[in-house]
């Protein structure tokens, strides 16, 4: 049961509940932090965790190449499986790979109709049916309600969970962001903030009280970019 070992060893799986199960179908999750703290590392682990449990993840990167995103996954998988001393890693990697699909767009070319068109391409031909979509690099500088409503409709139609990475500006807090972050938070079912704290990165639940419990347990280890349970 090597896959099971990895799932159980996954720090997301604390207290019997899983972070990505907290977002409902058609719901939105967000990971907020300033640049370079570990948003991508976090969502990639979230994705790997889902892939291990047989869920299909569509990773949309706005800016990075397929190669770079693939490398993120491969490295995080190596670290994750290394920590759990899993044998036959290559085989397991091959097994979970079909559960991932990467799409990259130039940020200016990405919009909901384009995404829907691509999703139809994938699902109509039975190529890939995602359960989770990760959108990395989406601009939240001027979040538009209309666009999010369309995304919400899409998420409901395809029964998807949508996770976003949200780039916050240095020293920006909910209080001093002139309402920008509040506006963002409003749209999400779950919002987690990655906050550097000395040599560690704390994971703080900004939204969803059910998640408050993980505040004290989970940390992002900056040396490996892996989420660890420090309990």
């Amino acid at each position: 049961m090597r896959t099971q070992d990895l799932i159980l060893g996954n720090p997301f799986y604390t207290g019997g509940s899983d972070v990505n199960e907290i977002v409902p179908e058609g719901g939105f999750g967000a990971v907020l932090s300033r640049a370079g703290v570990g948003k991508t590392a976090f969502v990639v682990q979230l994705a790997l965790n889902s892939m291990l449990r047989g869920k299909n993840v569509l990773h949309i990167s706005l800016g990075d190449s397929i190669e770079k995103v693939s490398l993120w996954y491969h490295e995080q998988f190596q670290r994750l499986s290394g920590e759990c001393s899993i044998e036959e890693r290559p085989k397991l990697w091959e097994e979970i790979l079909p559960h991932r699909f990467i799409m990259t767009f130039k940020i200016s070319k990405f919009n909901v109709p384009v995404l829907e068109e691509r999703l139809t391409d994938l699902t109509a031909q039975n190529i890939f049916h995602p359960s989770i979509i990760i959108i990395d690099g989406f601009s939240f500088d001027n979040p538009e309600k209309q666009e999010f409503s369309e995304l919400k409709a899409l998420a409901c139609k395809y029964k998807l969970q949508l996770w976003f990475t949200v780039h916050t500006h240095p020293d920006e807090t909910i209080e001093n962001s002139s309402g920008r972050l509040l506006q963002v938070l409003e749209l999400f079912d779950v919002a987690l903030e990655l906050k550097p704290h000395g040599a560690e990165v704390h994971i703080i639940a900004l939204k969803n009280p059910g998640l408050r419990a993980i505040d004290t347990k989970l940390r992002l280890d900056p040396s490996t970019m892996l989420i660890k349970n420090f309990e």
Partner: protein
């Protein structure tokens, strides 16, 4: 040779097949007085176009090998490489673009932007080659240059701006209106050599004004000076407008579009003016190389003749006088009698004859300076080699060479053909880096690999014509492998007593999977239970088993053998006995180690217009491909997938037909991966059938 480097242009002429680029080159050579008569491509007059120097090219009316030539136009030296049009020969186009500073993209005014135009454009983008476009065949029925300009914008994403508008079209195509000088240009005389410049016909004045406004508008985006003049309502001089257009062209922000009909001798001279006025000279192009002494640190080359020489061999040709090596000198000077070093081999080369090529005629020269293209005789090298002055250790950045996508076995008809085939293959491999050949150790067949069916077909044809080597071609094969997936013990005794001295040897130990590498042998024998002298024989015995796996007779890889026990006999043990014991031990343990078949998996990247993305993914999916992702780049997108090689045969044809020929793909080996059980069963059935028929 023009000594003023600022007046040199190294250009390529790239286009879709049958867009008329060879005809265009022929006309350019005629108007620049390089040739004194015009011949048709299809060779109705039995002569053929000058640039189509190979017999086969003349017969088929296509250009296969690129030939270099140089000519002069209004004090400028223009070095031209005529590039092939068919997609299967893109390596020629790629190499040309690598050594050239700019290009003319030829488009058919009827066909517009065709599949090969897209391929060629991608290549130009890859090497950041500035270009101007020439819309040819404006005399043809259905000619519509305006539509082609729109396609240039929509399909290729070029900021295409018309430099001219046509005076009449189809049968009535008479000439062009130059929107820079605002003059009408007519091409008269027997071969269009007499240019008549006159005022714009009254009915076209309004169109010309609109066209000029658009031209100025686009050019102003690239020049602050021009914008200032426009804002101040000043006079826009020809030189100011051309300077702005040149700036935009060099940055690939603007693609100036010229019109004409090469076949009808119209529009060529203004195009040549455009080449000299808008395209870069060698000093305006940044060329990088790798400093081999500094861990391949990139260095910028200086296009100066007095620096140490750096030149790139970009094409080899086997001519009647021996091997001809086309070179581009990036820095310094390559002189007759000088000594240079081939960076790849480290060998010294004495430069013999230095020549300048004009299609298949040549002119002896003393030297080739930085920025120029020429050829050398009698130099032993491969395509892509770098020549440098002694004391320099620089290599040009390697050229992008796509991996072969197709392979097939060839068998010579007789002994004579066998000898000639070897000669031909040696030559082709040196000339064309995308063409490869090897002998299959198992079947002893000669396998050739290339970029497409036509690519290989042409080489088979060339073998026959140029080397008198008749060969028959077979079907391609995929290189499957066997490996084991778990540890298994062995304890095997080889014992034979059939009169005379006997054979005795016992080996014990285990097989286990090896994650990296083909084979590892570990001797863990203690206490001399197998004497040291027999250990190599044991290893040899195991190694022999790797050639043909017991499961399906595919080569075995990824296996580690450890021997830790055994027995010998003081009289009957021998090398042979221990080899046999090892073979027996291998067979004994192999099936217990759960052997599986692995197949080569290719990384396939398909570049396609976005509208065909769904279709392309569908095809990849049907071929057992795992689609890693899709990269959306506006008009085009790239789809990356991992597909078994066995499923890739015939893919190019399917891809072309399902994308109207607008997609292209590259393929490279990624890894070996276990085949699914259903495919393993199919292979087993096939092998059994073969065995039965052999029996």
């Amino acid at each position: 040779m023009n000594k003023n480097i600022n007046k040199v242009r190294n250009i390529g002429i790239s286009a879709h097949i049958d867009s008329g680029k060879t005809t265009l080159t022929e006309r350019i050579l005629f108007y620049t007085n390089r040739i004194h008569a015009i011949h048709d491509v299809k060779g109705k007059d039995g002569v053929g176009a000058t640039m189509d120097s190979m017999e086969l090219e003349r017969e088929r009316g296509i250009t296969i090998a690129s030939a270099a030539t140089s000519c002069g136009w209004k004090g400028h030296e223009i070095n031209i490489i005529d590039t092939p049009g068919h997609v299967d020969f893109t390596v020629e186009v790629e190499r040309s673009l690598r050594v050239l500073d700019s290009a003319i993209l030829v488009l058919c005014s009827v066909g517009g932007v065709q599949s090969q135009s897209i391929t060629v454009d991608q290549q130009m983008k890859r090497y950041k080659v500035p270009c101007i476009a020439f819309i040819n065949k404006c005399d043809r029925s259905g000619a519509n240059p305006e539509r082609v300009i729109k396609q240039l914008k929509a399909k290729l994403g070029h900021n295409a701006v018309a430099m001219q508008i046509p005076i009449g079209l189809e049968n009535n195509f008479e000439g062009v209106i130059d929107l820079v000088s605002m003059k009408a240009i007519y091409f008269e005389g027997e071969n269009g050599e007499a240019i008549r410049v006159s005022e714009i016909p009254g009915d076209l004045v309004a169109d010309a004004k609109t066209g000029r406004d658009k031209l100025i508008d686009s050019a102003s985006m690239c020049s602050d000076r021009l914008t200032e003049v426009i804002l101040e309502d000043g006079e826009i001089t020809e030189s100011l407008l051309l300077e702005a257009l040149r700036t935009g062209t060099l940055k690939r922000e603007i693609t100036p579009v010229f019109l004409g009909s090469a076949y009808k001798n119209k529009g060529i001279q203004p195009l040549l003016d455009g080449v000299t006025a808008l395209l870069p000279n060698p000093t305006e192009v940044i060329n990088m190389a790798l400093d081999m002494d500094q861990d391949e640190k990139p260095v910028v080359l200086e296009s100066r003749p007095d620096k140490s020489a750096v030149a790139l061999a970009f094409k080899l040709e086997d001519g009647p006088y021996g091997q001809l090596t086309y070179i581009r000198v990036y820095q310094g000077t390559i002189e007759r009698g000088a000594t240079v070093i081939n960076t790849r081999t480290g060998k010294k080369i004495k430069i013999g004859r230095v020549i300048r090529m004009h299609a298949d005629q040549m002119e002896d020269i003393e030297e080739i300076s930085a920025g120029y293209i020429g050829a050398l005789f009698g130099v032993d090298c491969a395509s892509g080699d770098t020549f440098v002055s002694p004391g320099t250790n620089i290599s040009m950045t390697s050229m992008y060479i796509p991996e072969p996508v197709i392979s097939l076995a060839i068998t010579p008809k007789d002994n004579k053909a066998q000898i000639n085939m070897s000669k031909a293959l040696n030559r082709f491999i040196k000339e064309d880096p995308t063409f490869k050949s090897h002998v299959d150790e198992e079947t002893n067949e000669t396998i050739i690999e290339g970029m497409g069916e036509l690519h290989l077909e042409i080489y088979i044809e060339r073998m026959k014509r140029e080397y008198n080597a008749e060969v028959s071609a077979g079907k391609p094969k995929v290189a499957y492998r066997e490996t084991i997936t778990r540890r298994a013990d062995f304890n095997y005794t080889h014992k034979k007593q059939t009169g005379g001295s006997g054979q005795y040897g016992r080996v014990a130990g285990f097989l286990e999977p090896l994650s990296e590498g083909v084979f590892e042998f570990v001797n863990d024998i203690r206490g001399g239970v197998i004497p040291t002298q027999y250990i190599p024989a044991c290893e040899k015995g195991f190694k022999e088993c790797l050639k043909k796996g017991p499961k399906m007779e595919f080569p075995v890889t990824g296996i580690k053998v450890t021997i830790n026990d055994g027995q010998f006999h003081s009289v009957d043990s021998s090398d042979m006995a221990f080899q046999a014991a090892a073979r027996g031990a291998f067979k004994e343990a192999y099936f217990k180690a759960n052997p599986v078949i692995h197949e080569p998996i290719m990384k396939v990247v398909v570049e396609t217009p976005t509208e065909f993305q769904g279709a392309v993914m569908g095809i990849l999916n049907q071929r057992r491909g795992i689609i890693v992702g899709s990269q959306d780049e506006g008009i085009m997108c790239a789809i990356e997938a991992q597909v078994p090689l066995a499923e890739m045969f015939g893919y190019s044809t399917v891809l072309r037909s399902s994308t109207q020929g607008q997609a292209q793909f590259t393929m490279e080996f990624l890894q070996y991966r276990q085949i699914p059980q259903s495919i393993a069963d199919e292979l087993a059935a096939e092998a059994a059938k073969k065995k039965r028929s052999a029996a």
